[in-house]
Amino acid sequence: MALVRVQGLTYRHPDAEAPALDGVSLEVQPGELVCVLGPSGSGKSTLLRALAGLVPHFHGGAFAGRVEIGGIDTRTTRPSELAGVVASVFQDPEDQVVFSQVENEVEFGLENIGVPPEEIRGRAAAALESVGAAHLAGRPTPEISAGELQRVCLASALALGPELLLLDEPTSQLDPDGARALFELLGELQLAVVISEQRPSLPLEYCDRVVFLEGGRVLLDAPRDDAVRWLARNRPAYVETAPEARAGEEVDGEVVSLLDDVSFSYGGETGVESTSLRVRRREIVALTGPNGSGKTTLAKLAAGLLEPGLGRVERTGRAAYLSQDPGRYVVAERVDEEVALGIGGDLQRARRALGLVGLDGLESRHPRDLSSGERERVALASVLVTAPDLLILDEPTRGMDPDRKSALAALLRDGAGRRATLVVTHDVAFAAEVADRVVSLARRREAVHA
């Protein structure tokens, strides 16, 4: 018997004109790992929220059809009553954390669902252990990295012992090794998992079934092998092949950014140590490495946002830095004004930059009214418009669908001749697609050039 049964689900957000989900029907069997793919705004996150009962109870809007989890109708059951049967981990771990200590965070859900007090500590510890985060117990949540926080959120969900686990882009903050470890863990769990992802290579390796959404409708619901064949035919960007190395000619432009033996620490904690990096005009350098290796710190040093404690930083011309968090590009009241902030309010140039990233027609909207994918592109336009000599992008593909990623790679390659570009990324395929050179940072070690 199916654990999840969705029949003719149509849902429209309050004040939205078009439905986010349109006639969706699917089933999930116990123990099945189902991957939901689709472009930004296709309804993946909304579907996960419907399975958790948060749509419509928490979000309101117009809901038609039926969603049953283990025979429980989500329309007649509050999401809090479903907790324990269903557990969710949302996109942004920072927005989910209630407590300031890791173990208290994991215990929170157990207390809410009425687990006997004598079992709470043990179950929380076991959940942390299962996601490889036992060492984080006792640590303050504000002081751990985003990747570690994502593990804590996963532990909080697993501690509930759910039958259905819902994961919304769980690898967005993880390095490739961390992401693979997560999927191996999911494969070992004896529970149904529905996972929404924008980096499809790992999910396609581990999942049992693929659901492809577009415009709120299910275009494909098939076992993995059939789905991979369908994707290769119809949506080839989702079937990532082994990255092809770009032609290895060394770029001989002037050195725009030079970091020579730099070190930086946050308080007493080392950010980077004795690291050197050089980026030339017309060159795109991808900076990769595991969580906590200091990629972002190095990028900020190159951009001049941080001053090194030791070593030398030299830069020719103007630098622009794109932050990891697109939520930081919502200072102005209109999208075009936001983009024009860095160019003295020149709205004509701002609108041209918006056109470059495919946001024509959204100029007068408030940046906060845009989807997360659209916000990413506003942020990108905000730095591209400044026409910098050194462009630094920190995790620019986070939350971006494969088609949009290819478009970004093409955009960066098109403009590469005018500037030096440094891209910080966990996305190995994107790095291979866009970069002339990849620099890998080991944890607290010098850069290894490749």
Partner: protein, 232 residues
Amino acid sequence: MSPVPAAALLGGLAAAALLADRTVSVAVIALLLLAVCMRAPRRRRWPYLVGTLASGLVLFLFSPLLGSYGGVVYWEGPSIPVVGVLDVTSTELGEALFQGLRLAAVGLAFAAYALLLDHDRLLQAGGRLRRSVLAIALATRLVPTLERDAAGYVEALRGRGVEVSGLRGGARLLSPLLAGSLERSLNLAESMEARGFGRPGRTRAPRPAWRRIDRLAVAAAVLLVFGGAVWL
């Protein structure tokens, strides 16, 4: 020390500062609380200390100009409509020092609460008041969260070559900070609901029992309130 007795002790010190009549008593309480706050990491404590001490200083500097307590006149300025003659007298300076220290002491007690207490355990001790204590705990975390958000906005602007400085620059960030807080609170509420918050029949993880020092702290808090009203 457990967080409930520690919170009671800080509350007792704040109450004593408010009830005390002598400047030296309030000064000792303020210095004691300042020493406690200095135990917090430097990066976290400075906004609290600057905010609290600056507020006390502003009160000390401006209240003599507006008060009229008589005494030896040290300085006399122009007469302003409604306010009257601006002057500074010995009595006004003494009163200003007293009120400035009192404000600083109360602010430092809050700073110590925000910086050093384990709010999670305080929340767990809330019992029937858990919802109210949760609201207070989340509100307390708002300050560092806003601080982090503000730093993020400034960094994103600097990354585009826009420098944020002065009151006007800071004011530009108020609206996004407020909107961001509201957005974050909605996300948090959604996450809490998905984790069963508000469902009947909740339980509590076992908590460590109070030790002797905890009982002493509560007794000291009561004594401080009483002493503030009668002796200090």
